[in-house]
């Protein structure tokens, strides 16, 4: 492990912490434009985080230590995820800590803790949100795994850094399987990040919300951490999608020049991605919760198709 890689790694984590609320703010802004509302300032998520960190925590009487512990676990999981996913460079000393499958596990761990914490207080909304989250999660996870298997088959490795490295520096080949996997991945990301076809991040209407229902009881710095973790999750998913399906511009070695070139490219890609996300959220209606399995089933189907097409078309026996 060289010192350069370590610096790059720490820089990537710091960048994730800094950029994640910005990305959320940008998506909110774009969505407001699409919906013909006056947009909140770009920095609004930072102001909210700042405000929440200054506030006192109000805990319910029945809260167990798990409830106080969960935001830190979730936040930690998301930071780990952001550390593994290549954002600027594929030379990541932390990358051997977890491969793609473990990355899915990290997201799963965060989900379990936030759902348990939601059920911990014993309010009806909390357990409702927790159960719905688990419903969405257990359907999204196999689809995500299938997407990962497709990319892993192409690159002969399950390490995120190696996969991105291979995909970024290959000759130009059209992979129909990657296209399938890309569509499936975007479905899964919409569901996992509580975005519109499955959940509405802006709603406080009790009957429709999933993520918001789970974090109703949180306040103060706990809420700040949970919100920040949600931003980080969106950022990690966006970066993973960009790294897998449009990896051009990611630096392979650790060099100041490479990182400096990769940063604006990443920002531009994230800006376009956030804009598209806001567009998707604005033109789609939220699905009934019982239609969510069908939505995620489609994602699973596409991912499996990608895998099969990969096996049939792109291997020469």
């Amino acid at each position: 492990m060289n010192i350069f890689g370590l610096v790059g790694q720490i820089f990537a984590i710091a960048l994730a912490l800094f950029l994640a609320p910005l990305l959320t703010g940008w998506v909110n802004q774009c969505r407001a434009w699409f919906q013909n509302r006056s947009a909140p300032p770009l920095m609004q998520p930072y102001y909210t985080l700042h405000k929440l960190f200054l506030k006192d925590v109000v805990l319910a009487h029945g809260a167990s230590p798990l409830f106080r512990f969960a935001p830190f676990v979730v936040f930690g999981c998301m930071i780990l995820a952001c550390a593994i996913v290549p954002t600027l460079s594929t030379d990541l000393p932390f990358a051997p800590a977890a491969d793609m499958l473990a990355l899915v596990g990290v997201f799963g761990l965060a989900r379990i803790f936030i759902s348990l914490a939601a059920m911990d207080i014993g309010t009806s909304f909390g357990s409702l949100g927790g159960r719905r989250e688990m419903l969405v999660g257990f359907l999204a996870e196999p689809a995500l795994l299938m997407v990962i298997f497709t990319t892993a088959l192409i690159c002969q490795s399950t390490s995120v850094a190696t996969i991105v490295e291979t995909l970024a520096h290959r000759d130009f080949i059209i992979y129909p399987s990657l296209a399938f996997a890309g569509i499936a991945f975007s479905f899964v990301s919409l569901a996992e990040n509580a975005r519109v076809p499955v959940d509405n991040p802006a709603t406080h209407l009790e009957l429709t919300m999933i993520h918001e229902a789970m974090i109703l009881e949180y306040s103060g710095r706990h809420l700040a951490l949970v919100e920040w973790a949600a931003s980080l999750k969106l950022y990690a998913y966006s970066c993973l999608g960009l790294a897998l399906f449009m990896p051009w511009g990611i630096a392979s070695g650790a060099s100041i020049l490479g990182l400096a070139a990769a940063l604006p490219i990443l920002m531009a890609k994230l800006a376009v991605g956030g804009f598209l996300l806001a567009g998707i959220e604005s033109v789609n209606a939220k699905l009934r919760i019982f239609r969510a399995p069908e939505f995620l089933g489609t994602a699973f189907l596409l991912a499996v198709l990608g895998l099969l097409v990969r096996l049939l078309l792109e291997t020469r026996v």
Binding site: D171, G297, V304, L305, V309, R316
Partner: protein
């Protein structure tokens, strides 16, 4: 490995995958008009893939069949179907015997089976596009599935036409197309078939006041 596949074969594979994707989309579609549009897109993708095969291999009759595909399957037949739907006032939702997620799962199994069946056959073939044989077979099977699971007459006809798409893809991918006479014959058959089925729709509706073919099980003798 993959690097040895020429660009044309990659393009053919891409279009074949799009055709497969559209076959699944048709299977999942609940509404009549988008279903017909999806069928039109499938015809377009089929035309493109035939065109790529034609350019790669320099077989002139494939240009004709590509043009014929575009004219018939991407323009004329969808137009006829659109007109039928408008005249029959059947814009309602498509009903399916099995619910749609289950249908999709059955579809995946069908795709696996047809890929496995096609693999040894495609190794005998020496064309650039032999890999797509499995996809063509899968498209035929999915169209069959659609015909079996739908209760309304129009989706069944769309399934029938989509099956023809799959056969056509199989013909181009395995053997660079059938002889021109056969192709023309099939194309005209499908066209005539669609028109006759259109007349049938009117008859069915006049008889039963509905296009649900389940009513036809209750035929009485005299």
């Amino acid at each position: 490995m993959t690097a040895s596949i020429p660009l044309s074969a990659q393009l053919i594979n891409l279009f074949a995958s799009v055709i497969l994707l559209l076959a699944f989309a048709m299977l999942a579609q609940r509404r009549m008009l988008p279903l017909i549009n999806l069928f039109a897109y499938q015809g377009l993708a089929l035309c493109m893939s035939t065109l790529v095969v034609a350019v790669t291999t320099g077989q002139h009759h494939l240009y004709w069949s590509a043009g014929l595909t575009l004219l018939l399957k991407a323009l004329l037949l969808p137009w006829i179907l659109h007109r039928l739907v408008r005249k029959l006032h059947v814009r309602f939702d498509v009903e399916s015997l099995i619910n749609i997620p289950t249908t999709m799962l059955v579809g995946i199994v069908l795709v696996m089976v047809s890929f496995n069946v096609a693999l040894p056959i495609s190794q005998l073939s020496s064309t650039v596009s032999r890999g797509t044989l499995g996809i063509a077979l899968a498209t035929v099977m999915l169209a069959f599935l659609m015909m079996i699971t739908r209760t309304k007459a129009i989706p069944q006809v769309v399934g029938f036409l989509a099956m023809e798409n799959g056969l056509f893809l199989a013909a181009t991918s395995a053997t660079y197309g059938m002889p021109m006479v056969v192709e023309l014959g099939i194309a005209l058959d499908v066209l005539v078939g669609a028109i006759i089925l259109g007349v049938f729709f009117f008859q069915i509706r006049d008889q039963f006041d509905s296009l649900d073919i389940r009513h036809m099980e209750k035929l009485k003798d005299g």
